[in-house]
Symmetry: C2
Subunit: 249 residues, 2 copies
């Protein structure tokens, strides 16, 4: 190990912590590497030397956050297939407690040109999901001819997509919850054994009723999309880095 590595690790922690505080700071959608370096009290070249990119920094922040998820998940014992819906609930709760933070995280992951980073967000969750699917197969809730890996990937992929939609501001948190559960109950209903399929279909219809009119959403987006010209000459130059820096000391 040696002192060299220790300092490196220390500075990594410092930067990740600063990044988290910066991401959690409200009223500012900007989170630039220059302000990060400033807040962390390091040179603007250091985060690049230690992480390589902005997305890698955010990925590191999100990594440390995975513990929150698993501990919240296991806080309450859940039986049967409900664990899948429970995962959605926990996620939504975390998002609700810190929306801006998770939005920035999700958007940064989404924008990741570096493929490896997307996995930081998805991979541990995939592992969890796959284990739950395996359990369900062993219990006999899910058809044994279903491949746990592929099924978990589809489940997680779908969930992840709705998270992105939420981070983009396309849907509300409630919709994220309902759409994710709707999709999950649909996939589960297909994969489930006959015994539990009916119950899943009932749930599916419940989630469907809770969903907003897709037509309404589409209509809103259409009219917005029709304004093809540049109508936003409103000078959105309100970003004020100094206020953030000072607030974080």
């Amino acid at each position: 190990m040696g002192k060299r590595q220790d300092n490196r690790d220390e500075k990594r922690k410092l930067i990740v912590d600063s990044a988290r505080r910066l991401m959690q700071a409200r009223a500012t959608s900007d989170f630039s590497m220059r302000t990060l370096a400033d807040v962390a009290g390091v040179s603007s070249a250091t985060p690049y030397s230690l992480f390589g990119s902005k997305q890698a920094v955010i990925a590191a922040v999100m990594d440390t956050d995975f513990d929150n998820f698993t501990s919240a998940l296991s806080a309450k014992p859940v039986i049967g297939l409900d664990i899948f819906f429970h995962m959605v609930d926990i996620t939504v709760e975390l998002f609700a407690a810190n929306p801006g933070y998770y939005k920035k995280g999700a958007l940064a992951i989404q924008a990741a040109s570096d493929k490896a980073l997307a996995s930081h967000f998805g991979l541990p969750r995939h592992g969890l999901l796959r284990d739950f699917v395996r359990d369900a197969i062993q219990r006999g809730d899910i058809n044994h001819r279903i491949n746990a890996d592929s099924f978990a990937l589809t489940l997680g992929h779908q969930f992840y997509g709705w998270i992105q939609a939420w981070a983009n501001g396309d849907i509300k948190l409630d919709d994220l919850s309902n759409r994710a559960k709707y999709g999950m109950s649909m996939a589960l209903a297909a994969a489930a054994t006959a015994d539990v399929r009916d119950a899943l279909m009932v749930q599916l219809l419940n989630f469907q009723d809770a969903l907003p009119e897709a037509g309404a959403m589409a209509a809103i987006q259409t009219t917005a999309a029709m304004t093809t010209s540049a109508n936003k000459k409103t000078t959105t130059n309100l970003s004020n880095n100094n206020s953030v820096k000072e607030a974080l000391g």
Copy 2:
């Protein structure tokens, strides 16, 4: 209409055409507004005056492309639920014929901070999908208690997600096809009436067999993600705008 509007429309077409050619040009991943303006022979401010943003330009390009999709789709008559898988096939064929072009398009849409733009890619397709779902419900292939809008949205959302994964370089075109069809057959199997469910489950298992090991993919991503430091000091400064401009005249 008047000449003023005519000129405006003409210049819009000019820019959209130039943008398409630029996006189709291989060997260059860069497609900057400055080169676009250069190639189109207009000032770099004009695209902004006419479209508002880079994503709006790309959205306009993709808009004109939707006709390709629908005409290719209706070229061959398809019966029953196969239309959903046919949509995947057509999409994949188009993508295969012009990968770089569609990748850039999908990535630009993905990165759209302007929410309205994402709908340019998804909305017409949603309308198509919803109509197909409605047809299937009327035929009795899909349970009449399923809401066509919500179901179509889930179907399209899932497909869209795999497209993004492909555009990001996470999966190959073949996998895009199989994963999309796997997800579709899963959703359809849940929503389908009893008569067709079994056939869908058979298809589902076929697609599942065609899928690569999710574990393998995950492993690759993990090892890549482990290289947290900046290992890519390879000076990726090979972008040469001039060559593109000259190639396009």
